[in-house]
Symmetry: none
Subunit: 141 residues, 4 copies
């Protein structure tokens, strides 16, 4: 089972990260799941003449690493995802290694809600996505 | 090729929708892609004692239908996804049929940016995710 | 490695079959691969009001069992697929068990081409696809 | 929802196309779905000594782009696939970008059946598959 970090053990400034090399296989599987077959993702002939010069990953695919942080690391079990804001800042190419990081910004003790700053960078340190998340830590009394 | 709707042909109030029955297969494939193996998604024994009484889909998986709208329908080809905000309002169970809808709220003619209201509902009309998106329509001069 | 049946060992009337229960997971994965997200395949709310009353499998997915026969059983290794004709006769529902059968109809000894009658039936014996295939058995001199 | 083109709006000579770069990921996923694990598809050591000098895609996988045309573009919703004939003319290598095109050849107004010429080409314009399809446009009176 993934970890469960209790609400009271989570401090402002705590961070958690997950990294993954995003592959052609990931992008194709994701295109199939969500139906986003835009040629910039699945047509190299089109993509090589596009703004990015080659096929790129879906922003949503990269952003979903945040779901893994909240669901398996911080807080982990018994997390309820309330909201996510993503600003897509730079393209992710096949083979890029993306590191997603969530940092605790604020806690609402009454609701047990936690607000995070969320940042995804590539292997060069370029920010590819930033934004904020709100999650609730569910704890039976 | 997916369609391409030109910036000037997009009007305030235009909408585009995609529907899909979200299955166990989708959720498991998505868990594998993003690594969010929280037991509420992939452990029925855990999930039946949880708040939702059964396994539920990842919010990010459902939200990704919005990527398909922007990438293949409105505007389609030559869309650059700038930002997405998602508020997760209600759980999605395996077998729920989700309809994602994007409605044009505002246009910024100088930047060719388009702001959308984004709403996902289930087969009963319950809103499961709402929020806003910003996309740029890329058009060579 | 799959088997290799030599051209001279293949007789008129020889048959080879493969069976598979076609699942929701198969259909969803195939929809993702080929991009055929017609609602009759992936939207149960739509499908229950359609001609077939529930979601059905893609004909191409079922037909692809024939590729497995030629590629792994008869003739197996060193088969070159030249043509396939498929007539879609009846719908395949999730959970149906399909048996694909290829029967040798004719041989062209000069070209080492083999013509097959190809038939797919469901668990009730209903023919869901029929047609013909032509394959070449490649054999170095 | 995918588009729905009504029978009366479909004219002889109308065409619709879909393009995709066929990847190793596609071929392996498809091999898993249909069971065609012929070494020419999944064994590079075998394939490099074969007629084609490297692994190639399944003809059925490439041909399935036609299913996406009929199911999501022309006619789209409420299409019933009646038959497909495919002649496999040239190999498709991993990384080839395939464009599938369907062109309306004939219409049978009484049955609302539409006959298409179907052609798949690679990025060099080489025809890899050709053939014919017959689909019915289902329209409630």
């Amino acid at each position: 089972m993934p970890v469960e970090v209790m609400y009271d053990d989570i401090k402002i400034g705590d961070t958690s990260s997950i990294s993954k090399t995003i592959t052609e296989s990931d992008v194709y599987t994701f295109a199939g799941l969500c139906g986003d077959n835009n040629p910039v993702h699945v047509n190299e002939e089109f993509a090589k003449n596009s703004l990015f010069k080659t096929r790129i990953a879906h922003g949503f695919l990269c952003g979903s690493l945040l779901s893994a942080i909240f669901g398996t690391q911080l807080p982990g079990i018994n997390t309820i995802y309330l909201s996510q804001e993503m600003n897509f800042k730079a393209p992710v190419k096949f083979g890029d290694t993306i590191t997603a990081t969530a940092e605790v910004l604020e806690k609402d003790d009454k609701k047990k809600n936690i607000r995070f700053k969320t940042t995804l960078t590539n292997q060069d340190g370029t920010v590819v996505i930033d934004g904020f998340a709100l999650v609730k830590k569910y704890e039976k009394k």
